[in-house]
Subunit: 406 residues, 2 copies
């Protein structure tokens, strides 16, 4: 007998009909002799509807109260799923986050799981029940209902799988798995049968939101194999696992791209110790996330510093950077919101030093100009003009032969 | 400084606008220097909507799961009210039943409060907060979320008022208070300034559902004065209290009526010990509530037995009674669904023996025929034809001068 942990997202439980389909799938797993623990998100747009409702009350609402409100969404979907299972003859019980023993810190709206007490879950499994857990929520040391923030249901599933030593952790979602590139851009894009945790983290933008980064980190930390698969068909998904378990080392696994990028450059920044830290501390204090940073020595004692941020933070950032220019005595700034980032990602890149050169050559042959480059151990990213992003993704996918089977 | 407990029903919190009005009222109480504990029901039709949704899943749904589902309604209204209060500058915190320490037995869907642990509530009051509690729910010894069944929010408020030794317990509802008769029938009907617990229990049908019987019983048991008043205006309501605190003894306080009545009679029931117990045990086993019972000796060794039930249980009852007729060897049965019950209620009736005679005389003068009579210490009820009920209520209201001020 195996223990399976399965997570179903909001789109998979958006209506009673869809909940029925999920129930059928769970009953099938149970029928095959498995113990099943299920984590569910709120139905479809429920969370957004509650946010909108509360938005009419005012701004800057208390996070503790918002958590009380939002946590009801998953409690509803969990009980509806348990009722549907029972009506179909499959014994089931729903548990809130606190009943399931999901202990979190007290950071309302973005709490982190700090521990699990799965005694109740094991108890219900021993009774032969499918255990349905309201995702996205926990209980703080003070006894408050918390929500776990973005990707909280994924993280709950992975954490439970680790604690329960589950045989499999499955994330059911509305995509089939992780692809070598966005299939809307590259028609030869192919679903990967497996991918490493690190690659998953770097490719978050491939198959948008397939597995939330925090859940991937959790899986990596506890060595939980996670299968991302579609809740709408029975096709095998993509297994996210550690390098050692990968069938075959590839130098490049996929091509990611991101258009939510803006680029800001500061000119003639005095080359003094501490200047960079001033710049990035001010940005951090204003909650502006900086992605890539490049510093280039231009003339004596003066540098240019360029960095990228999320495009939707650009207006806020521009005002902040104007202040910074004055403060540090730079000569000026330039910016562009018409840029995008294309990346090649692969755990096998480390042992294949030619990847960067191949990437730059492929882009050059298409006359795609590179504005910025940054590299990590398993990823090489280039900032290019946004209107060339589709061509860039396609040419890199071709050049690294990603359309061919492993 | 006083401690006030206030309960607001579903119609009082049916929209954000109404929640805003409730918040204004609470802020006003707080502004006058009071500590305030508020119990809320779910918004408007929320509970019915959830019941309807679950009804699509199947029949005979598990009560434990239904409680998980339904309890979200009050959690939502409580958090929305706390958010609204905070947005208006009044510090507030919402608590679920379990957070508020409302301990119940494990009878899902109709749990009873078995204890309170109000430490958290006192703690929040000490911090200067309005404490908003999700009504209608508790936690069982097994750690399950329960719902308290009909009138559960009223009962929560009364129980909390008793435990917290509140100075006042106010039930805000959509009526102004308890009337001497249904104002839709008797235009001179007058709101009572006070009424005893026992009268309230007997007059449950006056001002339909003003205070649930279980809450009235709880109030009587713990000696909590309860004020029933409108959430839509600032008029004083009706105070439900003990006899000793009543300003003035009246022989009759009000005229109640009930049209949800059907009458069944068994003819020629053998006059043997145990026959009555057989009849009423079978009815009870079939969950048919019997209200009035009359046995009249007619001939040697044979009786007629007549009783009333709720009209909406009539179809079920008729089949059961047919069986009973066969079983006990009665000669037959008759029934009527066109009857209704009119009652005069008054704690002072015991010391005024003429009340029954006056009632019968008043009905006789209007040519209203009485089919059955039953009396208790503080109530006299008559079954009459339903089409005469309005005339009966009016003539009794007149005859006992109930339209005149105390």
């Amino acid at each position: 007998m195996s223990l399976l942990v399965a997570k179903f997202g909001g789109s998979s439980v958006a209506s009673l009909e869809k909940i029925h389909n999920v129930a059928d799938r769970i009953a099938e797993m149970k029928g095959q002799g498995n113990d099943v623990v299920v984590v569910v998100s709120a139905m479809g747009d429920m969370t957004d509807d509650l946010l909108e409702l509360a938005g009419n009350i005012g701004k800057n609402l208390d996070n503790r109260e918002m958590d009380m409100l939002l946590a009801t969404g998953e409690q509803q979907s969990a009980s509806l799923l348990a009722l549907t299972l029972a009506a179909g003859g499959c014994p089931a019980v729903s548990l809130t986050g606190w009943q399931a023993g999901v202990k979190s810190d007290g950071q309302h709206s973005k709490a982190r799981i700090i521990g699990l007490d799965t005694a109740r879950i094991r108890d219900e499994l021993d009774k032969g029940k499918a255990v349905i857990i309201a995702g996205f929520q926990g209980i703080s040391p003070a006894g408050e209902i918390t929500t776990l923030g973005r990707g909280g249901s994924d993280t709950t599933a992975v954490a439970l799988a680790a604690d329960l030593q589950a045989d499999r952790c499955m994330i059911f979602t509305d995509v089939d798995g992780v692809y070598t590139a966005d299939p809307r851009i590259v028609k030869e894009a192919r679903q990967l049968s497996s991918i490493t945790y690190e690659e998953m983290l770097e490719m978050a933008s491939l198959g948008a939101g397939v597995l939330q980064p925090r859940a991937a980190e959790f899986a990596m930390l506890y060595g939980v194999d996670v299968e991302v698969r579609s809740s709408f068909n029975n096709n095998p998904g993509t297994i996210i696992t550690e390098v050692a378990k990968m069938e075959r080392q590839r130098s490049v696994s996929g091509v990611a791209h991101d258009c939510n990028v803006a680029r800001i450059a500061l000119f003639d920044v005095p080359d003094q110790p501490g200047v960079a830290s001033i710049i990035f501390k001010i940005l951090a204090d204003n909650h502006i996330n900086v992605d890539m940073v490049i510093q280039s020595a231009m003339r004596d004692d003066r540098n240019d510093i360029a960095f990228t941020i999320e495009r939707n933070e650009f207006q806020k950032a521009r005002a902040v950077v104007n202040e910074i220019v004055m403060k540090i005595g730079a000569s000026g700034m330039s910016y562009s919101v018409d840029v995008a980032k294309v990346s090649v990602v692969g755990a096998g890149m480390q042992s294949n030093p030619g990847v960067a050169a191949t990437m730059f050559d492929a882009l050059a042959r298409k006359d795609i100009n590179i504005h910025m480059i940054s590299t990590s151990e398993i990823k090489i990213s280039c900032i290019i003009d946004e209107d060339e992003i589709e061509a860039a993704v396609q040419v890199l996918h071709d050049r690294f032969h990603l359309g061919e089977t492993d």
